[in-house]
């Protein structure tokens, strides 16, 4: 029903824009990752695998990447542990309070990411709210120093930020479960536990996979929370990239790490897409 001209008009402008401002930059990042920096701090446009070889050779890059993945994995697990029962409660037990509670999960998303990370900093600091509260009620006599500038602070803050992101797709998946399946399970004599594990949970897996992907990928690439709350032991891979693009001035090496992250993320998306397809029931 739509003419060729119509299709071309709606297709060409976004395709061109996306090619110029998304595809080209990614391709450029790929090119940069093979270049190098000369002694006079200019980019040398000669092609070699040196940057990637350096990533494999220098331990600190590997360790930081592994630490980032471990932090992201913990954030993912905690977000799911917090988000899943919350989604389940809202979907199956909240009755007429459903809409209100749902909005209440969303509202914290409207407070700036940066501001919430900052709020945690003021809570966890050595003269922060939590430490002074603990001393005020005489539970501790000295400030607990491990609270701030540690991987703990980063995991806590990122869990806070990504729990709603994990919640949303799980909730959507639970809401899409036909309620008569649950009733049928009860009628056929299954206990609530059996109904949950054999009917509800399997049907919610696509939502869990989507939520986990969001939480993992977004926290893996985070660099502001580690800068603000992580201290030296909470440095993540993106912080290394930031310093390579800043003070260390080695864009090509930074581009190589970024490109590896891009591949990792795209690979994860592909993998989670397969998983979701496998488990979706429609």
């Amino acid at each position: 029903m739509f003419s060729r001209a119509y299709k071309a008009t709606v297709t060409l402008p976004p395709v061109i824009w996306v090619t110029v401002f998304l595809l080209t930059p990614y391709a450029l990042m790929f090119c940069y990752s093979f270049w190098s920096v000369s002694a006079t701090q200019t980019i040398v446009h000669s092609w070699s695998f040196d940057n990637y070889a350096q990533l494999l050779r220098v331990e600190v890059y590997w360790q930081t990447l592994l630490r980032s993945m471990w932090i992201a994995a913990r954030v993912t697990i905690f977000s799911l542990l917090l988000g899943y029962p919350l989604a389940y409660f809202l979907s199956f037990h909240a009755r007429n309070k459903k809409d209100l509670l749902y909005q209440m999960v969303i509202i914290p998303l409207w407070v700036s990411y940066l501001v919430r990370a900052y709020a945690w900093k003021t809570i966890l600091g050595s003269d922060g709210v939590l430490n002074t509260l603990l001393q005020y009620v005489h539970l501790t006599s000295h400030p607990l120093e491990f609270l701030l500038y540690s991987p703990f602070a980063v995991v806590l803050t990122l869990t806070h930020i990504y729990t709603p992101f994990a919640f949303l797709p799980i909730y959507a998946a639970l809401e899409h479960i036909p309620r008569n399946l649950v009733e049928a399970s009860h009628d056929l004599g299954a206990t609530p536990g059996q109904t949950f594990w054999r009917v509800i949970f399997p049907l919610s897996i696509p939502g869990v996979v989507a939520g986990a992907t969001f939480a993992f990928v977004l926290s893996l690439g985070d660099f502001l929370a580690p800068l603000l709350l992580g201290g030296p032991s909470g440095i993540m891979i993106s912080n290394v990239v930031v310093s390579l693009f800043g003070a260390a001035y080695n864009w090509p090496l930074g581009a190589a790490i970024s490109f590896c992250m891009l591949l990792l993320v795209v690979g994860l998306l592909f993998f989670s897409e397969r998983l979701e397809k496998k488990w979706s029931f429609s």
Binding site: P14, L22, F89, V115, T132
Partner: protein, 280 residues
């Protein structure tokens, strides 16, 4: 089925839910409370409740300059994202062209990709093109990254749209341009307004992409970031509290406006389904 066990289970769930809400709201409560604290951002119990920090804030020119910059960026990014995101949704739903699958993935990628990758790749582009970093480069960055939001929202709207009206319009002699403005757009009013609001708020809050594309003028998040590094005062709590209140007003406004589009929440859910490949 044993009733007491069910009650116990529900009670446990209720407790869990309350705990998660406490966790989600604790920093926000602390943030707001300490914006009135005369003694600074830490320390329990809060002392000397005061409005001084708000007075400091209103006299602070740099913050308000950055707010103006952020508003400009958000409005311009909104225009770019809609101008390219709405046609992109139409193209994905109605046209077949080589590379369509790749195009769909590329458009949606910035949503899930950590901002640092989007920001850095654009930085390299601007560097190669010898473009000076400014608010303009941030606008291009936000505008490009947020096309994804416009596309997912409008695409979802299109799928619920009855094509018969457009068909009738074309049969009755209207051209495509007239049909688009008089039939398609009015029918997509809600997704478009929803997308616009979402893009606006996301852009106002964005920092990871802006971090790399910033020139001389700061956006509000970057201004706050700069201050955090220099030492923290409740003035930041005060400006955050004000923005939070404005956001709440926007949510209520949106909620009233909404009939079927469920805002940010559904946007995320729709993004997920879109990434699963339903858009193909």
């Amino acid at each position: 089925m044993s009733g007491t066990r069910l009650v116990q289970r529900t009670r446990w769930l209720l407790f869990h839910t309350a705990a998660v809400f406490a966790f989600l709201y604790l920093p926000i409560a602390v943030l707001i409370l300490y914006s009135f604290n005369g003694e600074g951002v830490g320390g329990f119990p809060p002392h000397h409740l005061t409005l001084d920090w708000y007075r400091v804030l209103f006299a602070d020119g740099a913050i308000w300059d950055s707010v103006l910059n952020s508003l400009q960026v958000a409005l311009a990014a909104m225009v770019i994202s809609l101008c390219f995101g709405v046609p992109a949704a139409l193209a994905l739903e109605r046209a077949q062209f080589p590379g369509k699958a790749l195009f769909r993935r590329l458009v949606l990628l910035p949503l899930i990709l950590p901002g640092i990758i989007t920001g850095l790749s654009l930085l390299m582009l601007f560097n190669v093109m010898r473009t000076k970093l400014s608010l303009m480069t941030i606008i291009l960055g936000h505008g490009t990254a947020l096309i994804s939001v416009a596309t997912t929202e409008v695409f979802a709207g299109l799928q619920k749209l009855d094509r018969a009206q457009e068909e009738a319009s074309l049969d009755l002699g209207a051209n495509y341009w007239q049909t688009f403005w008089r039939i398609t757009v009015p029918n997509l009013k809600l997704p478009i307004i929803g997308a616009a609001l979402l893009i606006f708020t996301l852009s106002m809050d964005e920092i990871a992409v802006s971090f790399f594309l910033i020139g001389r003028d700061n956006t509000l998040p970057l201004e706050i970031w700069g201050r955090l590094r220099r030492g923290i005062t409740p003035e930041i709590n005060a400006v955050s509290t004000i923005i939070f209140v404005f956001s709440l007003v926007a949510i209520v406004f949106w909620y009233r406006l909404r009939v079927r589009s469920e805002g940010r929440a559904e946007a995320v859910a729709e993004i997920v389904t879109a990434m699963e490949g339903d858009a193909a």
